[in-house]
């Protein structure tokens, strides 16, 4: 059962999928599991749905692990899922959110890459797709989205860590999300969780042009990182991806924004300055606790600003 699961440890793909089954069984009144597709190596791509009723309600999307070596993101996603079911009915903000909206969490967005980090290469980032005539393996799933595909901040070299792939949504892991969100048609916020470097960012990555509600996103990000900082004193910087970090094309949050999801954010979780992707498991829970406060801030704003 999930009660013996250690939320302060890293786990394999099998352990996470087993946890998902137990979690859904234990919270079947609110949580269901949806397979939205299969990965390149034919692993199930699973999404947890948190709903207290109704159908096609306005919804919030959260994904973790699109870059497989960023283990803190999957672990934070699992803790967050557990937090949602344990706080519903207690935390008034979360309770109001779930009374009006659904929440979808994809814990392992790149299952093939994640399995590979456990079996062969802990520092693998991309998915595991292969194509005839291409010597190197994998596409950077966060460069494979239709918005700005192939632009600056992505690479046409298949051996590059930011290889965008042969065409937009060529990768099944990306196409599955696009199909699911597009078919659902009522997503109001998208949060994509990465690591590391302690940043909270919003579109665009593909250009320096500000989005139409940039001011709203700026102040929402400001409030979110303030709420995060108050938990364990960790500092984040925030802003649009292109002005805070670098140009990055074909990315999740740009696609979400261009698809009409006004509240699209990308987290770069902590590393506390010296571990990078190898953040010790002792920091999983503090990281998840602080991230939760930022996520809750974004979800509350989405609830209070329907569109």
């Amino acid at each position: 059962s999930t009660s013996s699961f250690s939320y302060s440890s890293y786990h394999t793909l099998e352990e996470i999928y087993s946890w998902i089954d137990n979690f859904v069984t234990e919270h079947s009144d609110m949580v269901s599991k949806i397979q939205i597709g299969s990965s390149f190596e034919n692993r199930s791509i699973l999404v947890l749905k948190f709903s207290t009723g109704g159908s096609q309600r306005p919804a919030i999307w959260i994904d973790a692990g699109i870059h497989s070596r960023e283990w803190i993101t999957h672990a934070t996603g699992i803790w967050t899922a557990k937090k949602i079911v344990s706080e519903y009915g207690k935390d008034p903000v979360l309770t109001d959110i779930l009374k009006a909206m659904d929440i979808f969490i994809e814990l392992v967005t790149n299952p093939d890459g994640f399995a590979f980090t456990h079996s062969m290469n802990r520092l693998w980032r991309k998915n595991k797709s292969t194509r005839p005539g291409i010597f190197c393996i994998g596409v950077d799933l966060n460069r494979n989205w239709k918005s700005g595909f192939g632009g600056n901040g992505s690479n046409a070299n298949p051996c590059s860590e930011t290889y965008h792939g042969p065409s937009p949504q060529s990768e099944p892991e990306v196409a599955a999300i696009v199909d699911f969100i597009t078919t659902h048609g009522n997503f109001k916020a998208l949060i994509s969780i990465h690591s590391y470097s302690q940043m909270l960012m919003y579109p665009y990555g593909k250009s320096l042009e500000p989005v139409s509600n940039e001011k709203e996103l700026y102040y929402l990000a400001k409030d979110a990182v303030k709420a995060l900082h108050e938990v364990h004193g960790i500092h984040y910087i925030f802003g649009s991806i292109s002005t805070t970090l670098y140009l990055a094309s074909g990315i999740t949050v740009d696609w979400a924004y261009d698809s009409g999801i006004k509240y699209a954010f990308s987290f770069e979780l902590r590393d506390t300055g010296r571990y990078g992707f190898l953040l010790p498991a002792t920091q999983i829970i503090p990281t998840a606790q602080e991230t939760w406060m930022a996520i809750l801030t974004i979800m509350e704003h989405t609830l209070k600003h329907p569109y």
Binding site: S6, M120, R122, E161, L278
Partner: protein, 96 residues
């Protein structure tokens, strides 16, 4: 499992765009000599790169010859990986 014994992560603080582009030049080398953990972005942000043990001498010489200040963020990646793996195994025993 790939072994990363002796691989290091260097944190480089580029002073300006010129130095950033010197770092970007490293990305295109064949075969790949560095793996950017934090890619060159802007002078105010550090660049973290994993350097295989076999390339350490050349890469450090490159950085020093171009006046690029760096520190060693992770001295031996494999040590951290072994600790991570041990922690997972211990946790699994406890869960059981």
């Amino acid at each position: 499992q790939m072994n990363f014994t002796g691989d290091q992560v260097l944190r480089v603080l580029a002073k300006d765009e010129k130095q950033l582009s010197l770092l970007r030049d490293l990305e295109g080398l064949k075969p790949q000599k560095v793996d950017f953990w934090r890619a060159p972005a802007r002078p105010s942000l550090p660049v973290d790169m994993r350097v295989p043990f076999s390339e350490l001498k050349d890469i450090k010489a490159y950085l020093e010859s171009h006046g690029l200040a760096y520190s060693i963020m992770i001295k031996d990646i494999q040590v951290l990986l072994d600790e991570e793996r041990e922690a997972m195994a211990k946790s699994r025993r406890l869960e059981r």
